[in-house]
């Protein structure tokens, strides 16, 4: 009986370890596959030239730019709202129906399929506004997609600030609002920034919410044209913009070029490198900022 239990224990430990090793192996295989497949594509030409419609040799320049531009625009819209709502939830929200309803809303928004958010964007930000497929519509859809995460990040970061900081500030006669903006937010900054960078990675790789909002095409961009309303200006927020993630999907499902596979390889490698960079960057920057703010902490 005891021997049987011992064998069982050994077997279980072995199996569980095998699972852990398997998962780690899968990640490295995945990264290895993507990077080795795409490595030969990672040259200046591929990263900067526009894609071609029917022949080989196209690049992903506009897509790469669109992804970053869309990310910046999304964060410009989503961050202030996310910060505000996070502040409300952490510092003001009384225990009442309104607060519970907000919590439910956060839960609903974060579990909505991104294709549903994309459809909502299509209806409201594309059709009802009359903007058509545009970067701005895409940024608004991604705001909806990203908002619940940002609210949680802000709320958690604020709640993790030691209560003594708040007490100290209020005891100095600092108003509640200034206590939040000048004491709590700076102290919560490492958490907020780390979370935001990670969220950026998610936004960067999102595609389903963009298919019907930012669209699946990109005009021939003229990269020295910086007016906001020229249809070929990269900065024009009202032009359609296919991102890198959308491009990977499109090339695979309806690509016509003979080197579609090649282009997708390169684009996937870039996307994964970007996500890795966001991840590692978030870790490194968060730790660095925390050290800087609390340098030589003794408690």
């Amino acid at each position: 009986m005891r021997i049987k239990a011992k064998i069982m224990d050994r077997t279980a430990t072995f199996l569980l370890t095998a699972i852990a090793v398997l998962i780690i192996g899968v990640l490295f295989a995945l990264l290895g596959f993507l990077l080795t497949q795409g490595w030969h594509k990672l040259n200046f030409d591929f990263l900067t030239s526009p894609p071609s419609i029917a022949e080989a040799g196209g690049g992903i320049g506009p897509q790469l730019f669109n992804s970053f531009y869309l990310l910046v625009l999304t964060m410009l819209i989503a961050l202030p709202i996310g910060l505000g709502a996070g502040i409300y939830m952490a510092e003001y929200a009384p225990d009442n129906r309104f607060t519970r309803f907000i919590r439910l809303s956060i839960e609903v928004l974060s579990s909505l399929p991104s294709i549903v958010i994309g459809l909502f964007g299509l209806l409201v930000f594309v059709t009802m506004t009359g903007w058509g497929y545009s970067i701005l519509s895409g940024a608004l859809a991604l705001t909806v997609f990203n908002l619940p995460l940002l609210v949680r990040i802000t709320e958690d970061a604020l709640r993790n600030v030691p209560p003594s900081q708040k007490e100290a500030s209020l005891a100095l006669g600092i108003s509640k609002w200034r206590t939040i903006t000048s004491v709590l937010l700076p102290a919560a900054l490492p958490g907020i920034i780390t979370g935001t960078i990670l969220a950026s990675g998610r936004v960067f790789g999102e595609a389903a919410a963009l298919l019907f909002t930012a669209g699946m095409t990109s005009p021939d961009l003229v990269f020295h044209d910086f007016s906001l309303n020229s249809p070929t200006s990269p900065l024009n927020p009202m032009r359609p913009a296919e991102t890198l993630a959308v491009h990977i999907w499109k090339v695979n499902s309806e690509g016509l070029t003979p080197d579609a596979r090649d282009v997708a390889d390169g684009a996937a490698a870039i996307l994964v490198i970007a996500v890795l960079a966001f991840n590692l960057g978030a870790r490194w920057f968060g730790t660095w900022l925390y050290r800087k703010i609390t340098s030589g902490t003794q408690r």
Binding site: S164, E167, L172
Partner: protein
């Protein structure tokens, strides 16, 4: 209840029927007390006797605790402050507080001190610099930190942090200082420095200090109030309270029978 009657013009804080409830639990029971201007008043009593609760009522810090209710009257310089009509920022600026554990902001030494004055209206850079230096000198910290004002306050030692917190409180130019066991987390030498500082500061401020250390109360205070189970048992000039207490319970406590 014995309350030492002082001349009216010397009283700066006067509470009547001050009670504090945490939810259903009553933490302070109908306290009447007068606190003298430009003197050090010490609150003593065993843990949970209500001395800190009383102290935190004076600048309405109890409002931070959910379900906490403070009833009765607190008059400061004749003005009723236990009322929503009094803006809380002005009250807390007038009645400064230093906590048991040093709680410097995650900012530089300079910013820790300049933060509150700037909020309360000192905008000029030269004025702020002067104020920071004066406050640090008053808190006997200037010589130790003058070369690293722009380094993080968290790099200071525990005792230095606590003096920084006192400097920070002084810098917003309060009239009354509430000290909630300011030396209880410190080593003996830092404690001594804080005590010297308290005696020095009473020239300019009315000081109320909560302490669990009877010797500390005897060394630095002019008046002492003894709390027990949410009630004020006795308040008297310190020498009188420690030599000839009026109440049997006070006598038992200071002679070490309980607590």
């Amino acid at each position: 209840m014995t309350v030492n009657i002082q001349q009216a013009q010397d009283t700066v804080i006067k509470t009547s029927d001050l009670s504090v409830f945490y939810g259903q639990k009553q933490a302070l029971n109908s306290v009447n007390m007068e606190i003298e201007r430009h003197a050090v008043t010490a609150f003593i009593g065993p843990s949970g006797c209500g001395k800190s609760t009383f102290l935190r009522s004076l600048n309405r810090m109890n409002e931070l605790i959910p379900n906490c209710r403070v009833t009765g009257s607190i008059q400061i310089d004749g003005i009723e402050v236990n009322s929503d009509a009094i803006p809380i920022e002005g009250l807390r600026q007038t009645v400064g507080m230093v906590f048991q554990r040093a709680n410097p902001f995650f900012k530089s030494i300079f910013e820790n001190i300049a933060f509150a004055p700037r909020f309360h209206g000192v905008k000029n850079k030269a004025d702020l610099e002067e104020l920071v230096e004066k406050s640090l000198r008053k808190a006997a910290l200037w010589d130790e930190v003058k070369d690293r004002l722009h380094e993080s306050a968290l790099a200071l030692s525990g005792g230095q942090q606590q003096r920084l917190c006192i400097a920070r409180t002084i810098a917003m130019q309060p009239s009354i200082l509430l000290l909630d066991e300011p030396a209880s987390a410190l080593d003996p030498i830092s404690t001594m420095k804080i005590e010297e500082l308290v005696v020095e500061l009473k020239q300019e401020y009315t000081i109320v200090i909560v302490t669990h250390n009877l010797h500390q109360a005897a060394r630095i205070s002019d008046h002492t109030a003894f709390f027990l189970m949410g009630e004020l048992i006795e308040k008297a000039p310190t020498s009188q309270l420690f030599t000839s207490p009026q109440d049997k319970r006070t006598e038992d406590y200071i002679s070490g029978k309980f607590g």
